[in-house]
Amino acid sequence: MKNHLPILIIIFPLVIAFLILFLKKYSVQLSLTGIFASLFLLLRLTSEILNGNTIAYHLGGWEGPMGITLVIDGLSFYFSFLVLCAGIYIIFYSLYEEKYSSSYYFFLLLSISSMLGVIFTGDIFNMYIFYELLTISTYLLIAYLKKGKSLKASFNYLIMGGVGLSFFLLGVGFLYALFGFLDIALIAENFLDIYLVHREMLMVSFALMVIGIGIKVALFPLHGWLPDAHSLAPSSVSALLSGITVKIGIYCLIRILYGIFSLEKYFFRRTGQIFLILGSVTLLFGATMALAQIDLKRLLAFSTINQIGIIMIGFGIGTKAGITGALFHILNHAILKISLFFCAGIIIKKTGSRLLQDLKGFGRREPFIVLSFTIASMGMIGIPSVNGFISKFIICSAAIEAGFPLIVVIILIASVITAAYYFKIIVLFFDSSETSVKITKPSGKEMTSLRIIFGYWPVYALTGVSVFLGIFPTFGINLLEPAVKLILSNFVP
C-alpha cells in the first residue's frame, strides 16, 4: 500500500466529505478522522522526502505525456504538511464558534482535498482544475450565512476569481500550443529548445499566467477583492483563506516560475526584478491601508496583503537565503495569521462588535487571549524571540547580500507602520481608564465549557508553536531544506 500513498492522501478527505452528507450527525468526528488519517499517511513519507527523494505516481497506469502524474517532492511535502496541520486547528475552532451544519464541514473538507490536489499534481491543466474546485468551495464558505454584506463580498470574489482563472487557462493554452503536452517535468526538459525559437509567445504565456495567479495571491493592482472577502466571512473561514488559500497561489507561482521558466537565466533575472518591485509596492500599500482601518478583521486582511509582499520580495531575490526566508515566512505567517483571526473571532463573539473603539479594556476580561494576541502581533512586526523576526531577518540579509539595500529600507519602514497599527490595538486592550467595558451577552445558545476549550486551545497551541520556532528555528528550517535544494536546482532530481 505504500506506493499508493499520493492518491490516498488526496482521496481520503474527499470520501469523508461525501460521507458527511449521508451521516449528518457525525460530521465533526468524521472530518477530524479524515484529516488525521491524511496527516498520518503523509508523515509516513517523511524520512524518504527529507533525504531528497521524489515520489511519482501515475494515475490509471498511463505514463508520460498521456497520463497525469502525482509528484511528492520536498516542496509538495512542506506545503501539504502546512495545509493539513492548519486544517485540524480550523475544525477545532469551528466547533467553538457556532453549531455549523453538515454542509459547512462538507465544503471545508472539499477545499482541503482540492488544496492537496493542487499541491501534488504534476500536470498543469490538472492544477487548473483543482484550483478552480478550491475557488468554488471557498465562494460557498464565504457566503455561508446567506445574508448581509458577505453575499456582495462573495460575488465580487467570484467575478475576479473567474476572470483570473480564465487568464491562467489562456496561458496554459499558449503553453500547450507550443509544446504539445501538459506534463510539467516534460515541459521543463524541452523548455530551452522551444525558447530559442518562440521567445515572444512564451513571454506572453508567462505574463498571462502571472496575472491569473496574481489575482488569487492579491499582488498590488489585483488585490481589490481581498479586504471584503476575508473580513466579511466567518472567523474560521477567514483563517482558512488568509492562512492557507493564498499560499496555494504562491505554490503555483513557484512551480511555474522555478519549475519551467527559470531555466533561461536572463529571463529569470528580469522576472525576479518584477517580483521585487511588485512585492515592495504591495508591502507598502498593505501597511498604509491597514493603518487607516477601524474594523478589526479588515485590518487583519490588509495585514495579509502586507506579509504577502514580503514573501514576494523573498522570491524575487532568488538566492538561497532569499528563498529560505520566503518559505519560512510562509509557515510563520500561516501560524500567526490563523492565531490572530481566532483571537479576533473570540473577541467579536464576546463583545458583539467588530469596531476597534469597542475593544477598550478587553484585557481585563480575557487576559490570556490578549496575551496571545500581543505575542502574535510581535511576530508579525518582527520583534526577536517570536518566529516572524527570523524569517524577516533572513530576507533582509539576503537583500543586502544580493545588492538591494533599498529593499531593506522598505521592509524596515513597513515594519514600523505594522508596529503602529498593532500597538494601536494592544494599547486599547490594556486601556483601563474607562469602566464602560461592553458587557453585552452575545445572542446565541449558551456554550458549555467543552466548547470553550475547543475555541481557546488552538490559540494557545499556535502561540506556543510560534514562540518555540522563534527560539529554536532549526526545526522549521530543517523541514524546508529539501524544498530549497529542489528549487535551486530547478526541480531536476
Partner: protein, 141 residues
C-alpha cells in the same frame, strides 16, 4: 404564462424521445462525440422542458428533489469505489480492469461505459436539482 395546451401536448409526446437521445449519448460516449456530461445535460434539459410546460409544482411531485440529492451523493462514492477496485486488482488508481472488447463495439473500452453512466446520472440529477432549487425554493433548501 398562460396554460397552452399545444406546448403541454408536444412536450408530453417529445419527452421520452429526448430521454432516449440522452441515454444514447451517454452509452456511446467512447465511440462518438458525447459521453457522460453531454448526455447528462440532455437528460436534465428534458426535465426542465417538462417543468416549463406543466408547472414546477407538478413536476416536482413526480421527481422529488430529495431523491435527486441522494442519487447525486451516492453516485460519486461509487465512482471512487471503482477507482479503488483498480488498486485492488494490482494496478494504479482508476486502472482499467474489465476486458477490452473489439474496437468499435459498444462493450469495448474496459470500464469507460460504466464511468460514463455514473457521470451521466450525476450530471442529470445535478442540473435538474439546480433548476428546482433556484426556481422553487429560491436558493434555500
Amino acid at each position: 404564462m398562460k396554460n397552452s395546451s399545444i406546448i403541454k401536448t408536444i412536450s408530453q409526446k417529445l419527452f421520452p424521445f429526448i430521454m432516449l437521445f440522452g441515454v444514447y449519448l451517454i452509452l456511446h460516449g467512447h465511440l462518438s462525440p458525447g459521453g457522460g456530461f453531454q448526455g447528462g445535460v440532455v437528460l436534465g434539459t428534458a426535465v426542465i422542458l417538462l417543468s416549463l410546460s406543466y408547472g414546477i409544482e407538478e413536476t416536482e411531485r413526480k421527481i422529488k428533489i430529495k431523491y435527486l440529492s441522494i442519487l447525486e451523493e451516492s453516485v460519486i462514492l461509487f465512482f471512487i469505489f471503482l477507482g479503488f477496485l483498480g488498486i485492488l486488482t494490482g494496478g494504479f488508481f482508476l486502472k482499467n480492469f474489465l476486458p477490452l472488447g473489439q474496437a468499435g463495439g459498444i462493450l469495448s473500452g474496459g470500464f469507460l461505459p460504466l464511468l460514463n453512466l455514473i457521470i451521466g446520472m450525476k450530471v442529470a440529477a445535478g442540473i435538474s436539482g439546480i433548476f428546482f432549487i433556484l426556481f422553487k425554493y429560491r436558493g434555500e433548501i
